[in-house]
Symmetry: none
Subunit: 232 residues, 2 copies
DNA sequence: TAAGCTCGTCACGGAAGTGTCACACAAATT
DNA sequence: AATTTGTGTGACACTTCCGTGACGAGCTTA
């Protein structure tokens, strides 16, 4: 399925601190990635898809807060949990940090034990089967646990790609996506396929859904597709 | 909105390779600039302000990595996305490249398709579309995220051009625009179409909006059109 | 190895969208 | 009132975009 240990991206401009944290986390069974600034961090996020980010308040260039805000605004990274690190226990920072979208907040110095504890808590909170809940839209049901789709209790047989496509749509309803965005989100960012391939899978998905539900997937001419219960 | 094609700076010391890449990118609709070394590249960046840089790993004089690092450190160019090119798929390079601030990484040889795909992905990522809030004017709602227009909650069906036109008007209310200005802003600067074409699209848009909202688009005789809630 | 699936690509045809024209109509100018 | 100028409107050819069936490559299963 996926890898066993969760991976954590440590973003801090001071290498020794990164190292220290990395050692502590690795002992606790986490895989560690490191980045010294916002650019590196972004590259790592895209490339390695960590499960959580430890983000230092102070960063050269783009500040930690600003970076957090940016991540939360980006659709693909909005779900990524962030823990902020700050040197002094200034309450102002805490508020700003949380407002920027951080999920938790630790002041340096902190014990490894505290760090791991918070980390676990945040992961438990944000990883859980938020995506594992069945989704139902007007008789169309997608159950991630059983990995099964039913239309009015009648089982729908679709391939893995169509399944992921449908799952993405059902968790991101009403919003229009370009073919490129769908390739990014459903196929995964670093594969190359023709954009028109999306059309074909849309077609297969529609066909599988049948007349009762195919209208849920709407074409947005000149743009892409949209999953919506509202008529166009 | 802005210019249609993005411009890409190709930095490689071998002219044939630059040429090959340039051809591939131009076919995909990108404007290409070229540079054989770090000095030339820097001059081009200042002068032409490309939207993305394709940077060869090996360069005479200042190496690609070093150059990338320098760019990221410079304030004015820090946001410029960089894709690294390298001859061999050495993982070491990859890490170094990403740490130096590259946004993506391609190993030669690569297919033009792959190149274009990655390029698109990086551009999409690094051009965080401005926060797209829905705009509402007296019952007329345009939602950029859903790519949808509703008049008193009733969906309005319009083509891409009318959509862009309406979006422009709603973000630039109360001001009169000439046909030439509208062609510039909505059609994009470097296309030639008859000015009277604007009239036709205005007409189509008014028709689609229906009696309830068509009066929002007002004719300014001798000048052009205006989107306004105030009656004339 | 063959059979069965899924996937990505292509080519064709049809549908929707686009730009231009001609003419009708309205407003300003004489 | 007649003329000139500017805009509304319907129709048409043309282009672009999307739906669709078919096909071969790769992978898994038997």
């Amino acid at each position: 399925m996926t890898k066993a240990g969760k991976s954590v991206l440590i973003v801090d401009d001071e290498a020794p601190i990164r190292e220290m944290i990395a050692v502590a986390l690795e002992m606790a069974g986490y895989e560690c990635l490191e980045a010294a600034n916002a650019q590196e961090a972004h590259a790592q996020i895209i490339d390695r898809k960590p499960d959580l980010i430890l983000l230092d308040w102070m960063l050269p260039g783009t500040s930690g807060v600003e970076f957090a805000r940016r991540l939360k605004r980006e659709d693909r990274t909005a779900e990524l949990p962030i823990i902020m690190l700050t040197a002094k226990g200034e309450e102002d920072n805490k508020v700003q940090g949380l407002e920027a979208g951080a999920d938790d907040y630790i002041t340096k110095p902190f014990s490894p034990r505290e760090l791991v504890a918070r980390l676990k808590a945040v992961l438990r909170r944000s990883t859980p089967q938020g995506i594992e809940e069945p989704i139902e839209v007007s008789g169309l049901l997608l159950d991630p646990v059983c990995h099964r789709v039913t239309s009015n209790d009648k089982p729908i047989d679709i391939g893995p790609t169509e399944y992921r496509l449908l799952q993405f749509f059902m968790t991101h309803q009403e919003r229009a996506y370009s073919r490129a965005q769908l390739l990014d989100q459903v196929w995964g960012g670093n594969v190359y396929v023709e954009e028109r391939t999306v059309d074909v899978h849309i077609r297969r998905l529609r066909k599988a859904l049948g007349e009762s539900h195919e209208h849920l997937i709407q074409t947005v001419r000149g743009t892409g597709y949209r999953f919506s219960t509202k008529v166009s």
